[in-house]
């Protein structure tokens, strides 16, 4: 169902998804968050590129880098979507990491043939802002926040 733009202004959606540390869940979490963005008439490129790719990167880092696929650890994804912007928090149960220490230019000739290391680069390229802070409250962990203004 297409969103009717005249009614967007009043609609505000919050979504929380909790998953085990298993990459098999990523695609569905992406779908769950993309859907309200589609209802709110986010632009086709944001729906097909920015949102799914950046989200998939943040969730897979939480599962693989922070939680080390530990089946006892979980990933919490919270999204707030309205007609202005999408804010997604991806929370893991891992050790703190320094996001500013991880600014690698994936397009540098030295890096271009690397298999890994494009995750944060893509999040930064595809979102308006990418931040990291400590989860407040149990369980401890990182929160990676992605912010995208609706286009």
């Amino acid at each position: 169902m297409a969103a009717s733009p005249t009614n967007d202004a009043g609609l505000r959606v919050s979504l929380e998804v909790e998953i085990p540390s298993d990459v098999a869940y990523i695609e569905r979490v992406v779908e769950l968050i993309r859907h309200p963005c589609a209802e709110l008439a986010y632009n086709a490129h944001q729906l097909a590129l920015n949102v799914p790719v950046a989200l998939s990167e943040a969730i897979s880092n939480a599962i693989l880098r922070a939680n080390n696929e530990d089946p006892g650890k979980r990933v919490f994804v919270r999204a707030d979507v309205d007609a202005l912007r999408l804010v997604v928090d991806v929370q893991d149960e891992g050790e703190p990491f320094d996001i500013d220490d991880n600014i690698r230019d994936a397009t540098d000739p030295d890096n271009i043939e690397r298999e890994d290391g494009r995750g944060l680069f893509l999040m930064r390229a595809l979102m308006d802002r990418v931040e990291r802070f400590d989860a407040n409250g149990a369980p401890a962990g990182n929160v990676v926040r992605l912010i995208l203004t609706r286009a």
């Binding site: 990459v23 695609e27 790719v53 998939s56 897979s60 995750g119 680069f121 893509l122």
Partner: protein
């Protein structure tokens, strides 16, 4: 999500249906490496039916391209939609791969 492999003449053509992401990239890698081991040299990956690709999907394409080159083979890509093109441009991977607009053009380019 699935990967369909068929032969067109001496070219191995892989269709990526759905996403190419961390959850399934190993499957693509293994399928292509199996063909490479069987002695195949020419590979085309067709993205006409692909949704999105994440960094680990891109990573698999980079590493396959290296492995194929090492065996004296070639990997080409076809049918990137606008959003996938943007993804390759952002990462400058459009400079690493030979990319064709259509499958026929890609097949003819080998």
């Amino acid at each position: 999500m699935s990967f369909t492999i068929k032969k067109e003449g001496e070219i191995v053509v892989v269709d990526v249906e759905g996403q190419l992401i961390v959850g399934n990239r190993q499957e693509l890698k293994q399928k292509v490496l199996d063909e490479l081991e069987r002695g195949e040299k020419k590979f085309l990956i067709d993205f006409a039916q692909t949704g999105y690709i994440d960094s680990s999907g891109l990573g698999v394409l980079v590493s396959l391209s290296k492995k194929i080159r090492e065996q004296g083979g070639e990997l080409r890509l076809a049918n990137l939609n606008d959003d996938l093109k943007t993804l390759f441009e952002l990462t400058k991977l459009d400079t690493l791969f030979q990319i064709s607009d259509t499958r026929d053009r890609a097949l003819a380019s080998f």
